[in-house]
């Protein structure tokens, strides 16, 4: 139950952060372009339409960020528990000025922590993809396997990720593989399910072509099933990597070592709340980048937009 709450809290944090930060990155350039505007003597009404258009695009997200920071500042000013945006910013500047220092196993720069988390996610998610995608392919293709695996998947999929941690600790007898195991088991389901759905939805027309040509199973897979299913697979991969990144923080809080999740817990024990806020932003931004990268890949390989 605790894990579930934790997951939800994180999810919300990522979601709330996702919107403003994404717009911020796209806003930075046009904003610079807009700077000379007040310097010119032209009245507001005669501002070029291009400039107005830019303002229309970057205005709302910018306002959102300002509101967010404003509310944050207000809350922090009304009590002394939450650090102010300015104080957090100063702390962030200090942390990111030396992200790769190493002072023993429990005191390393934020860069190492992020990389350690990314490595765990990479291994766990990678193994999940290696097993999940082919398995989903078979389940989508063979009715017997579908009927065989469906109940197991339905049963295990809704299980909270951290419920798997004790099993991992029991089997691997070490914290790091256990954390990777949790990533693996919680990120495999979207890939299995999406791949299976994709394969079962390959248009009958394409399969008729395969039948008329009497293609070999290998050719059918490579020339028809795989390309037709690719968009579904990539959706599964995107969902999976989101889940993996969501779960890693919680898993690392419990397993310790190096990693962004452990770092959050460590800073909580030090009562360094600025660092916790920074961690939240970092987790959000890294998650966002992972997702955007996958959307980019998906766009490149989707056959609707041949490159």
């Amino acid at each position: 139950m605790k894990a579930l709450l934790l997951k939800h809290a994180e999810m919300n944090a990522v979601r709330e952060l996702a919107l403003p930060t994404r717009s911020a990155s796209s806003a930075s350039e046009p904003r610079l372009a807009a700077v000379p505007a007040p310097a010119t003597p032209t009245p507001w009404q005669r501002t070029s339409p291009v400039l107005l258009k830019i303002l229309e695009v970057v205005g709302p997200p910018l306002l959102g960020i300002l509101l967010f920071i404003g509310v944050w500042a207000l809350i922090s000013a009304s009590g002394d528990r939450l650090p102010s945006p300015a104080k957090t910013w100063d702390a962030a500047v200090k942390i990111f000025s030396d992200p790769f220092y190493q002072k023993g196993p429990n005191d390393q720069g934020i860069g190492w922590n992020i990389l350690a988390s990314l490595q765990r996610v990479g291994i766990g998610f990678g193994m999940a993809a290696l097993i999940g995608i082919p398995l989903g392919f078979l389940i989508g293709r063979v009715q017997f396997l579908n009927a065989m695996f469906s109940p197991i998947i339905s049963l295990l999929r809704p299980v909270s990720p951290l419920a798997w941690l004790p099993i991992g600790l029991l089997v691997f007898k070490a914290a790091n593989p256990a954390a990777i195991w949790v990533i693996f088991i919680s990120s495999i389901w979207p890939m299995i399910i999406n791949t299976a759905v994709g394969v079962s939805r390959v248009p009958q027309d394409y399969l008729n072509v395969a039948r008329v040509l009497n293609l070999s199973p290998w050719k059918v897979t490579m020339k028809i099933l795989l390309p037709a299913t690719l968009p579904y697979i990539l959706t599964g991969v995107r969902l999976s990597i989101g889940v993996a990144w969501l779960v890693i923080v919680a898993a690392e809080m419990l397993t310790g070592g190096v990693g962004i999740g452990f770092w959050v817990w460590d800073e909580w024990n030090n009562l360094n709340v600025e660092h916790i806020l920074i961690a939240i932003f970092v987790v959000g931004i890294v998650g966002l980048l992972l997702e955007q990268a996958l959307i980019l890949i998906a766009k490149r390989v989707t056959h609707d937009h041949p490159v």
Binding site: D205, R211, V212, N214
Partner: protein, 270 residues
């Protein structure tokens, strides 16, 4: 008449949730080599079902279908299909769509002792097939980059490149506008004049049927549909659509088909 393609007492019964549904019963049709036969009938009469049975995409539940003296069991490249919605693979270029079919047919040595062809030979075949339908310039394009008429031409090129014993066409021009359809019909006649292919085409267009066919098999309404009457067109080839418009035989054939469809097999008001 030699029976190159022979449908003997064929029937098709589907087992649906609401019980048995007999779509076709006692269908008999013999087609000679090089002949062009159209199947025409009201929608839902089972003409596409019959075509799919010849293709082997559906297996007849009664009777037999013989192609080249061998029973049709399952689909195969000797009975190429031009699908109504072209069914090109969107992730392959026009060239690769055709090449996929060429490679399957000519890339392996067959049971009659024909050797597998080299890649260069197969590429030449592919280019030749696309040239036949006038699409040399679009070889490197993807299906979503060309018009509907061009897609249908690629579909025809793919089917013809396989050098099938029988070319099966399921309303090949049904989704096209009237002008494009007329142009493709003319092109098809020229191509078939060269290749001498045996063709079975499903259509619901009376003019198309009379213009293209040697014989028109008219189907009764389902359920339990069958071939009600066959019209032998008997017009000389090459045919010219403008000259035929006033041709007595053409008008007579047209009248026979219309009479069958709208008097003998008038559909109850839908």
């Amino acid at each position: 008449m030699d029976k190159f393609l022979s449908i003997e007492n064929a029937g098709m019964t589907f087992h649906t949730k609401r019980g048995k549904f007999e779509a076709l019963r006692n269908v008999d049709l013999a087609i000679a080599k090089g002949e062009f036969v159209s199947l025409i009938g009201h929608s839902g009469c089972g003409k596409s079902t019959l075509l799919n049975m010849i293709a082997g995409l559906l297996n007849a539940t009664d009777g037999v279908i013989l192609c080249n003296n061998r029973e049709v069991k399952g689909a195969g490249p000797d009975r190429a299909v031009v699908f109504q919605n072209h069914s090109l693979l969107p992730w392959l270029t026009c060239f690769d769509n055709v090449y996929l079919a060429v490679e399957r047919v000519f890339g392996v040595s067959d049971s009659q002792g024909r050797q597998a062809e080299s890649k260069a030979q197969m590429k030449a075949r592919t280019s030749a097939a696309l040239a036949l339908v006038g699409l040399t310039a679009a070889e490197a394009k993807y299906p979503n980059e060309i018009s509907g008429g061009m897609k249908q031409r690629v579909g025809i090129a793919r089917a013809l490149a396989m050098e099938p014993a029988v070319l099966l066409m399921d309303e090949p021009f049904g989704a096209l506008d009237a002008l494009t359809r007329a142009r493709l019909q003319d092109e098809l006649m020229v191509i078939l004049q060269k290749t001498g292919s045996t063709v079975v085409m499903v259509t619901h267009d009376v003019d198309e049927a009379v213009l293209l066919s040697d014989r028109i098999a008219m189907m009764t309404n389902g359920p339990s549909a069958t071939i009600g009457q066959i019209v032998s067109v008997g017009l000389d080839r090459p045919r010219d659509r403008l000259a035929l418009a006033t041709d007595a035989r053409y008008i007579e054939c047209r009248r026979l088909v219309l009479e069958f469809l709208y008097q003998k097999q008038l559909r109850p008001a839908a």
